[in-house]
């Protein structure tokens, strides 16, 4: 009786909300594929875009020289490459599928113009830092161009992922961020308002509408009502599990590669001690969090790169061990009479605050008293970049190339030049990064990166937590959507709607 009453309450709530939504929303077109997003893209110009949504949509609008396979190895996309010397790379464009959406052919001049524009300090492109090693670009013919580097960089091809924009558009000063013109599988149609972006598939004219629905509950209700056809990620795990039980809805998940971690300030008197960092790592019960909070939609991490990455390492996970954690704290001079106090910063996203509260409780069980401070994204990220924290949590999203280790853990990579936010400085780590960056042999590089990840797990500048799964929720009529490990939207090129 109690259970049935509960069901009635749930159904009444859904019905009420659905009716209310129905009153608010106009009927959408029934031919387009409608994709609900939590946030809208900030820029449709690939030279400027940095946020995940913009990058994912720009992949649909623009072609790029290099892409990645399932093991995150760089593979030819618009061009194959030859390494003529340690500082000289030649890119040869493919013959087919090289047409901008205005009908002009994409050639080496467009590629050169795109990269020259990124390298122009006046453009202020966020990709400048990665690509500034390019000393000169030389166009050989319409299909071939050479890149000359300042210094050897064996991973260089993996950085050639900026979407190619037309040279004419750059010269004419076209506002590509709102009027994109690329050569990807989708052409731009309209962006009538910030929360609605319309594209068209080049191959068959299928319309695609991205619609922003900020609230996860509303996003789900719109999907149930048929106002949107697809949504991907950004749902509370419980809501995802609930959707699995709905008729007419399909849920697909796959292991993800976005790495969540706890970061320490290494210059802090407490978190600078290795025993304290180990105690924190040993106090966390990842299994319980993944089982009960993520409902299985995550997997434990022991290193930044997932094990399937070509440079990934299969390292042992740090399991919860409260007696050892307490012993390490006691060795560091902390105990019941003199407990360790830490301030844990996180963003104000409700799910992140929820995770922080759970970690606070788990650390308290080891005798570590944690104060959780949540801030809006701008303030939080500003504090993290400035090194103004003791403990924080963040995720690395869309990591493909192992040069992330130099960016995040090299002693010289302090912000703003890099992302060594905790001011980690370790001679052995630096040595391994240098050796891996200089090696030209992929096997040797992979071996060095594995050693490096083992070293990082020993030194714990960050505590590896988990890789959150990717998932897509679609109405039954949608087929052909294949999830990518990094959560990109590339599968929209094949998806069909009955």
């Amino acid at each position: 009786m109690g259970a049935s009453l509960y069901q009635i309450v749930i159904r009444t709530t859904i019905l009420y909300l659905a009716l209310w939504l129905g009153g608010c929303q106009a009927q959408s077109s029934h031919t387009a594929i409608r994709f609900a997003l939590a946030t809208v893209p900030s820029s449709l110009d690939p030279r400027y875009a940095t946020d995940a949504t913009s990058e994912r949509i720009n992949r649909l609008l623009y072609a790029r020289l290099v892409d990645f396979d399932e093991q995150f190895r760089p593979v030819p996309a618009l061009a194959r490459w030859e390494r003529l010397s340690a500082t000289h790379y030649r890119f040869i464009l493919r013959k087919q599928d090289r047409v901008f959406h205005d009908g002009t052919r994409l050639n080496a001049d467009d590629v050169a113009a795109t990269y020259r524009s990124v390298l122009d300090r006046r453009t202020a492109s966020p990709h400048y830092g990665t690509l500034k090693l390019i000393r000169r670009i030389s166009v050989i013919d319409a299909d071939t161009l050479d890149f000359f580097l300042d210094h050897p960089a064996p991973l260089f091809p993996a950085w050639m992922t900026v979407g190619i924009v037309p040279k004419a558009a750059i010269e004419a000063g076209r506002p590509l961020d709102h009027q994109p013109l690329g050569s990807g599988p989708f052409r731009f149609v309209a962006w009538p308002q910030a929360g609605r972006l319309e594209l068209e598939r080049v191959s068959d004219g299928q319309r695609l509408v991205f619609e922003q629905v900020h609230d996860p509950t509303m996003r789900v209700l719109k999907l149930l009502r048929g106002e949107v056809d697809l949504l991907q990620n950004d749902l509370p795990p419980e809501l995802l599990n609930w959707l699995r039980t709905r008729q007419g809805i399909q849920v697909v998940t796959r292991p993800g590669s976005n790495f969540s971690y706890l970061g320490f300030q290494l210059q802090d008197a407490a978190t600078g001690k290795l025993s304290v960092r180990r105690a924190v790592a040993l106090a966390i019960d990842r299994d319980a969090i993944i089982r009960y909070v993520f409902r299985g939609a995550a997997r434990k991490a022991s290193a930044l790169l997932p094990p399937e990455h070509w440079a990934g390492a299969s390292l042992p996970f740090i399991e919860r061990d409260l007696p050892r954690a307490r012993a390490l704290l006691a060795a560091a001079g902390y105990g019941p009479d003199h407990p360790l106090h830490l301030v844990y910063k996180t963003s104000s996203d409700p799910f992140r605050v929820r995770l922080a509260t759970i970690l606070q409780q788990q650390l308290a069980e080891a005798g570590i008293q944690v104060t959780v401070s949540s801030y809006d994204w701008g303030t939080f990220f500003g504090d993290i970049k400035a090194g103004n924290f003791q403990l924080y949590s963040l995720s690395w999203v869309g990591i493909k190339s192992p040069d992330i280790f130099r960016y995040a853990f090299y002693s010289q990579s302090l912000p703003p030049a890099g992302a060594n936010r905790g001011r980690f400085s370790d001679v052995q780590t630096d040595h391994l990064i240098d050796a891996a960056m200089q090696s030209n042999d992929l096997q040797q590089q992979a071996a060095l990166y594995r050693q490096l990840q083992k070293r990082l797990l020993e030194q714990l500048p960050v505590v590896p937590l988990w890789f959150e799964s990717q998932y897509v929720v679609a109405r039954k009529g949608i087929s052909g959507y294949r999830l990518a490990a990094d959560g990109n939207f590339d599968a929209l090129s094949y998806v069909t709607r009955r």
Binding site: G2, T217, P236, N241, W242, Y292, V293, R354, Q361, V372
Partner: protein, 271 residues
Amino acid sequence: MVRRLAILVLLAWTLVALGGRWLPLHPDRMALPHILEAPDSAHWMGADDLGRPVLDRLLVGAGVSFRVSVLVVSLSLWFGVLIGSLAAWYGGRAERLLVLVMDVFMAFPGILLAIALAGLLGPGIDNLVFALTLVGWVGYARLARAQVLSVRQREHVQAAQALGTPSWRIIWRHLLPLISAPLVVEATFGVAAVVIAESGLSFLGLGVQPPDASWGSMIRDGVRYMLVAPHLVLAPGIALMLVVLSVNLLGDQLRDWLDVRSGLREQGRER
């Protein structure tokens, strides 16, 4: 019947608020296996998104809303009556200035001002009480001023003045007892308004801070799980509704009881 129910609800609210500390409550005890559990025999109102018992949090939240409403109404009443009656008694420029200030406060939506103040001062229960008091005193001051103006010409007041009774004594002994009835009724409705305002500000994250519970913050946290676990929103929502409804019902009763004219009407009907 309805009146009895209302009294029962308010009695329960007061008892839980005053005696909550002696109850074996564990509002912050997390149990991950119980996350979003529906109401059952072990958890009468289910568990929230961190596996904490909703009933325990609801009872602790009752204490918060009770304390805030009593504090805010008492402080507002005290300052409002003091300022309003002194202004009406002494008159002059100070009174005109006060009327102007009150008009400005009344013209501005109270809850918006409270949101702005709570945002400016930072989240927290003390700042919330301060913000709501700063907004709340105006109604009492306005009422007290109007009442004092209407009774200050009465003979017994003039007699007290003629006998050289000090002003404070006249206000305390001869005016306040006369104006207290409408102020008490206003304060009753004020309690309901403050309960709603506290929940509203806590819903916006400007009131009680996690992990402490308040009805507003419970509703805010529950909204994300409305489809999966509606009890997270329904429990504090219904509690809030019952308390506000009961306070308003009893306020109405109190007003009728204290209103001399309505008493005469009743008698008239009987004849």
